[in-house]
């Protein structure tokens, strides 16, 4: 993976090169690449003069950061308590089946990455699914196909 060192510099400078903003830097890098490439970790660690292991420790500790490339759309299935009680696991099962991937994996065509979250803050609409910015409330296992179709329109499946 080729990383754009100019852009990485910008991100590092935004936080004045202060190592205490490591997490924020990686969050910004993730916004850029949709994951945190290994090369970017090396670059940042080098620039901040910190051991590579320290930088890796931070990237691997926080769930919000991903070390593997992500698909075009990330499907977030809520596994919060409210969603669990109203059948969230069945929704996740249905996505796993329909997309033929497990949690954290990306479909072969690179279209979807399946993720779980621990609450999206709209518990009244449980069970909830979020794809990109769009929320689907009170979902049913049978409605999963429709959600997938909405985002695969026109793309080879």
């Amino acid at each position: 993976m080729e990383v754009n060192s100019e852009r990485l510099h910008e991100i590092i400078n935004k936080y004045h090169g202060s190592a205490s903003h490591l997490l924020a830097m990686f969050q910004d890098i993730q916004r850029e690449y949709r994951y945190v490439p290994k090369e970017a970790i090396k670059f940042v660690a080098g620039e901040l003069n910190m051991p590579l292991a320290k930088a890796y420790e931070v990237v691997t500790f926080y769930k919000a950061l991903s070390l593997t490339p992500r698909g075009r759309h990330t499907v977030h299935v809520c596994m919060g308590t409210a969603c669990h009680l109203r059948g969230g696991t069945n929704i996740l099962d249905a996505f796993e089946r329909e997309l033929s991937v497990g949690v954290g994996e990306t479909t072969e065509n690179g279209l979807f990455t399946l993720e779980t979250v621990n609450c999206l803050g709209a518990c009244a609409l449980a069970p909830l699914v979020r794809v990109e910015e769009k929320d689907f409330g009170k979902t049913t296992p049978g409605g999963v196909k429709k959600i997938i179709n909405e985002f695969s329109g026109g793309e080879p499946s």
Binding site: S18, A19, S20, H21, L22, L23, A24, Q27, K54, E57, V58, F61, Y62, K63, A64, L65, M79, G80, T81, A82, C83, H84, L85, R86, G87, N90, D93, A94, R97, E98, V117, N118, C119, L120, G121, A122, C123, A124, L125, A126, L128, D135, G137, T140, P141, G142, V144, K145
Partner: protein
């Protein structure tokens, strides 16, 4: 820069004059719940409609934070809470927008959008009449749903930043005395006395000092803090600035998780505006006091809500807790004296300064003063956000405010305190809700998630759910938590799969106690609570799973089977349409049958059938 009460008042009256020029005010809830139900389309439809009618500058349409009644969103409220419309745009957006405009133009109330209660035919017009609202005492949430959180003048018009001005003309010890005498206890879970914490931090040796706000809210199924940060961010900033002045701090951080982008956005905007008006930054309100706040975006780790882990995280490290032989008020962020409070705790502070500690002290129960915000979710009719005086009973919350159990099923338990809490059964529904009563029941107030469960909730499965969550969220630093909780999860998982054996329950109890005693931080120390409390109150459900290989609630997949009762099946085909794997077969008007070999036991057919023909056994 604003330096006096008079200037605050002139901003307020000017703003009020400006808004009074409008013929009508419409508040559209744009909290996360309502946005998920389509509130933004309602907003766009309405503003476009008003433009079309030439009313765009006659009607003030505001996007507000959560109103509370999320289940029935999108919520639209007219004027000073004269009319409340619910589920706006859910069925027919154009017709509903037309009704909104008709309400403005002809003062015609749209019957079909009003809140319907339990009583047949009764419709409520004003939110004040709806039991969900009339049963609440809104202090922290008083402006949530009323304000446009992106407009600082609205907050000032409601008296905002008046308390900061007042506090800056008190002595720090006077402020701390007030907070202490008010009886305010931290809303982040532990219920520690806020005034006492502030005093220790003020007295601690070391410079600089830090004042932090915990907006991490890692509890699954809880959204109080989020709604507050999104709906009324200035209240948190004002409280923090008052605290910082009392403690003697010049810099603070709000820790918000990156998954809450709207909260981050609203808080950033609020900080910027507060600096412009001189409520943050150098020489605040001309008094010579300097204090500034920055946002720190967390990375979605539950353990980062714990005070020492949160501090490590801000320092740029992995968010691992450390043992607390030195207190963070003495040695916290960068080893300097640090005072951390939950965002709701901070939002209470301006009210105490404004109305006095005696006022605060007069609500609540003897040892838990004031009000508490809860997110009421699960199998209850009115899920949403509520604020109630402490000491109110669980029954009042669930039945009077919550409207009872969905589908009029039987109540089974209410889970409070998130992963650190426990399940409370029906016999204790009359218990008052406060810090100490809930702890006595082996649960916890926690940050305020309240999850209602009915007969279709399996308590063993709930215990497994929390254990699984904690196994994933344990930071792994100490063995009892890393290995012990994992082991508990294995045992409970085995029980749910029908492979439980005699002695498992005793083993869980023993293991749970050991983990509680020997874990380093609060995560491990409270991790066994959901299991121990379900064993305490629902042991028979564990026994049914272990000895009879039966799941009484019909949830544990390995122990159940779905079946269609031929006598009751009308052949309506609804179930077949819902089945995600297409394993239900049958002709129209003929009896349907499930192909057991392919059934995933998802229960969609059970929920779909209107004739009670699907049986779970």
């Amino acid at each position: 820069m604003i330096t006096s009460q008079e200037q605050l008042q002139s901003v307020a009256s000017e703003y009020k004059k400006k808004t009074a020029a409008f013929d009508a005010v419409i508040k559209i809830c744009c909290g996360t719940g309502c946005v998920s139900s389509g509130a933004l389309s309602v907003y766009e439809g309405l503003t476009a409609g008003l433009r079309g009618e030439g009313l765009a500058d006659k009607v003030l349409v505001k996007k507000t934070g959560c109103h509370g009644l999320c289940e029935r969103g999108p919520i639209v409220v007219f004027g000073q809470d004269e009319i409340l419309y619910q589920s706006v745009g859910k069925r027919n957006i154009d017709a509903d927008v037309a009704s909104l405009i008709a309400t403005v133009k002809e003062k015609k109330v749209a019957e079909q959008l009003l809140y319907k209660g339990e009583e047949k035919g009764k419709r409520y017009v004003s939110p004040y009449e709806i039991p969900f609202y009339s049963g609440q005492t809104r202090v922290v949430l008083s402006l949530n749903g009323a304000l446009d959180p992106e407009n600082i003048e609205e907050y000032i018009a409601e008296g905002g930043y008046g308390s900061l001005h007042k506090a800056l003309h008190m002595s720090p010890t006077e402020i701390i005395d007030s907070i202490e005498k008010s009886g305010l206890r931290g809303r982040g879970g532990g219920g520690f006395l806020t005034g006492y914490k502030w005093r220790s931090c003020r007295q601690a040796q070391g410079n600089p000092k830090y004042v932090l706000a915990n907006g991490d809210e890692g509890d699954p199924g809880a959204f109080m803090d989020r709604s507050l940060m999104e709906g009324n961010p200035h209240a948190i900033l004002e409280g923090m600035a008052i605290g910082a002045f009392a403690i003697g701090s010049g810099q603070g951080y709000i820790y918000v998780r990156d998954e809450y982008p709207l909260a981050v956005h609203r808080l950033s905007l609020a900080i910027e505006k507060a600096r412009e008006y001189g409520f943050l930054g150098k020489n605040i309100m001309g008094t010579g006091f300097d204090y500034d706040i920055d946002i720190f975006r967390g990375g979605g780790a539950f353990v980062c809500g714990e005070s020492t882990a949160l501090i490590s995280s801000i320092e740029g490290k992995a968010g691992e807790p450390r043992s607390k032989y030195t207190h963070t008020v003495d040695k916290g962020l960068w080893d300097k004296p640090t005072n951390l409070n939950n965002v709701e705790t901070w939002a209470n502070v301006p009210h105490i300064i404004d109305k006095g500690w005696e006022w605060f002290q007069s609500t609540g129960s003897p040892r838990s003063k004031g009000t508490k915000v809860f997110s009421l979710v699960g199998k209850v009719k009115n899920t949403g956000l509520i604020e109630v005086p402490m000491g109110i009973t669980l029954k009042e919350i669930i039945y009077d405010l919550g409207g009872g159990i969905q589908g009029d099923k039987k109540f089974k338990a209410v889970q409070t305190g998130g992963p650190s809490g426990g399940c409370i059964p029906e016999v204790y529904l009359d218990m008052p809700v406060d810090f100490d009563s809930l702890t006595k029941l082996g649960s916890m107030m926690g940050s305020g998630g309240m999850i209602v469960m009915d007969e279709r909730s399996c308590m063993v499965d709930v215990a497994r759910y929390f254990l699984n969550f904690l196994v994933q969220e344990s930071c792994g630093k100490c063995t009892p938590c890393r290995e012990g909780v994992r082991r508990m999860h294995e045992i409970v998982d085995r029980i749910c799969r029908g492979d439980g054996c005699r002695g498992d329950v005793e083993h869980l109890e023993e293991l749970g106690k050991a983990i509680q005693l020997s874990s380093l931080c609060g995560l491990g120390q409270s991790a066994p609570n959901p299991v121990l409390s379900t064993i305490r109150f629902f042991k028979e459900e564990y026994i049914a799973h272990i000895e009879e290989k039966r799941c009484p609630a019909g949830i544990c997949k390995d122990l159940i089977k779905m079946q269609i009762l031929p006598d009751l099946c009308t052949g309506c085909m609804r179930c077949a349409g819902e089945c995600p794997v297409g394993c239900i077969e049958g002709e129209k008007k003929g009896v349907h049958v499930i192909d057991q070999s392919r059934c995933t036991k998802c229960g969609a057919c059970y929920d779909a059938c209107r004739f009670g023909a699907v049986k779970i056994e």
